[in-house]
Subunit: 134 residues, 6 copies
Amino acid sequence: MSTVHLWTDEEVATNARVSAVFDDIRATRQSDFVNNFWRALANQPDILERTWQNVKSVMAPGALDPLVKELIYIAVSTTNGCSYCVHSHTAAARAKGLTDPQHGELLAVIGMASQTNALVTAMQLEPDPAFLMT
Amino acid sequence: MSTVHLWTDEEVATNARVSAVFDDIRATRQSDFVNNFWRALANQPDILERTWQNVKSVMAPGALDPLVKELIYIAVSTTNGCSYCVHSHTAAARAKGLTDPQHGELLAVIGMASQTNALVTAMQLEPDPAFLMT
Amino acid sequence: MSTVHLWTDEEVATNARVSAVFDDIRATRQSDFVNNFWRALANQPDILERTWQNVKSVMAPGALDPLVKELIYIAVSTTNGCSYCVHSHTAAARAKGLTDPQHGELLAVIGMASQTNALVTAMQLEPDPAFLMT
Amino acid sequence: MSTVHLWTDEEVATNARVSAVFDDIRATRQSDFVNNFWRALANQPDILERTWQNVKSVMAPGALDPLVKELIYIAVSTTNGCSYCVHSHTAAARAKGLTDPQHGELLAVIGMASQTNALVTAMQLEPDPAFLMT
Amino acid sequence: MSTVHLWTDEEVATNARVSAVFDDIRATRQSDFVNNFWRALANQPDILERTWQNVKSVMAPGALDPLVKELIYIAVSTTNGCSYCVHSHTAAARAKGLTDPQHGELLAVIGMASQTNALVTAMQLEPDPAFLMT
Amino acid sequence: MSTVHLWTDEEVATNARVSAVFDDIRATRQSDFVNNFWRALANQPDILERTWQNVKSVMAPGALDPLVKELIYIAVSTTNGCSYCVHSHTAAARAKGLTDPQHGELLAVIGMASQTNALVTAMQLEPDPAFLMT
């Protein structure tokens, strides 16, 4: 149960700004399915428009591959403990070609990083001078 | 200032188990430089051996590219707020060829994921049925 | 399913210390409803008494408005990923007059702060001297 | 020491897109001082422009008071453990009129929320039905 | 609903490496019950073997009592907001003799630490020189 | 550099409420040294009194040993990434008898828990029915 209302397609159709974003989501993703994140943001057209524009721009192909971007998204979402986000971006990564062995290695790196992060913090290490930009 | 002692090369030389790990770190990385993380773990040869074996195995080339693994490591370390780890793995990623445009996109994805994670949690969204494995 | 037992009103009635806290919760909030947080803490009367006294004192009107305090509470609970707390304090904020536009702006600020926090940490920025107290 | 270069005013002057953002920051804040966050983002004009537009829009007066928005920002930054962000937004809040008693109450609410978040998570409480939106 | 398949006993029986780990889990714990964490890791025999070896070694009796190790595990899992982990390690602690008064004190310490952590971060305190190792 | 003023002994002497708390800290700990956490809280006598009373009560011997309580405190502080708190409670644990092998095992458990927490979250496991209280 969410803390905000989730807009149905009928409600979306009544608001021009929200409709425009939903149309662009469907066109960009070449799919009719619009997930609940956008249906929740629809309550605030400003945030909806800004978030969609930013997500669309940030996740587009660029210097990094779209699948790599999804792996980074999963890593952040896992560390933040965002259940919805882990589910949605794991599904997105699979849709972009993530294989089981790649998923296994992603989990291994996330787990290893979490462990060494904790060890470093418990030992309160300061960066080696060699790591600092010159 | 750390909460544990950092071993010098002289101290490492006095302990066969610690020396063996340091030798393997140097051989694997083809560099004489051993950073403070390992000098701190040297206090506990068990953890040192286990951690090095695991890191060596997890970060090796596999289904994912070593540079991609570093990006995932940076994403986790940033979200956990581990300063040492962000520094060390950003340096490692640059050594493996990370370009400035790639770094910029990495930052953009980490920032976007952090934002949408927070929005999702504040709205308490439950995964869309379409995201769940079948 | 919780890791501790949740006390029913019948069980509360059997313990004088727990009853006294529940009576004060009902009197302070002018409502018969006592939520599960207090029913769970009832297992440890010491923690129950201390936590209720502290919450009552901290959330009372003062230099900050009670609604503003709820917004701060939601911000912390969201960042900590505490689902129960986001639900309970969003409900509390609505009961204290939170409007939909205010909720939308709260979400926007939480999202923006989460994003810039991550960017700052990934870039390992040190405070500008101008920010430090003089 | 940051993981990216911080742009000086001289370097900013050489890039039209970066200059435009810095000019708008100075005009909006009516101050010549531009803090390191923007000097770091200058390496990626896309992120710089998008982040400044979003921050400017989100932090502007609206349904919530600008000072209240800073308090929410501090709450998120504290929970995320972002040292730079706590410093910069505490300074910003003071510049917008934050008094010492208000700061004290902000700390008290952040501390209390952090404590009850942890208690709730350790006890794995599920939201009371009364909290769920109807 | 998890993002990976959970192996049934029938599936486990078809894979020698996975079977060997499951046999050792059952022998070590002197119980037929193998929880879902291991059934999920079974998808990646490398991670399964490494994680079980490490958990078995780390959680064994040593300089710290096994029950104390479970309390530390619960503290970390609570702070990370890992629901599954709080449930599984609270159950494990009870199986190792955790009493209700001990559980109550564990909760009190976790709550207090979470509160003072937040206060310290909001006030940006630097370690007293007396705390630093000499 | 902190975001609040740290009270000197001379300033403490001018405020009866603050003085009373500092006297009790010194008497309880049988040491003249009062660390910066209390000097920072002195700005808000209400929070100072409440926090000291709570810490004194929670950390006292009870169903759990004072050293075990410090280990739990370190585990939470590490996971929250609170540098000051890791330093101060590691120093407190050493003063209460923490040995190097115990510290090593504490680190190992914190690291292992952090790793498995992340794996569980990335795989989105739901608690086994056997873990739920009956």
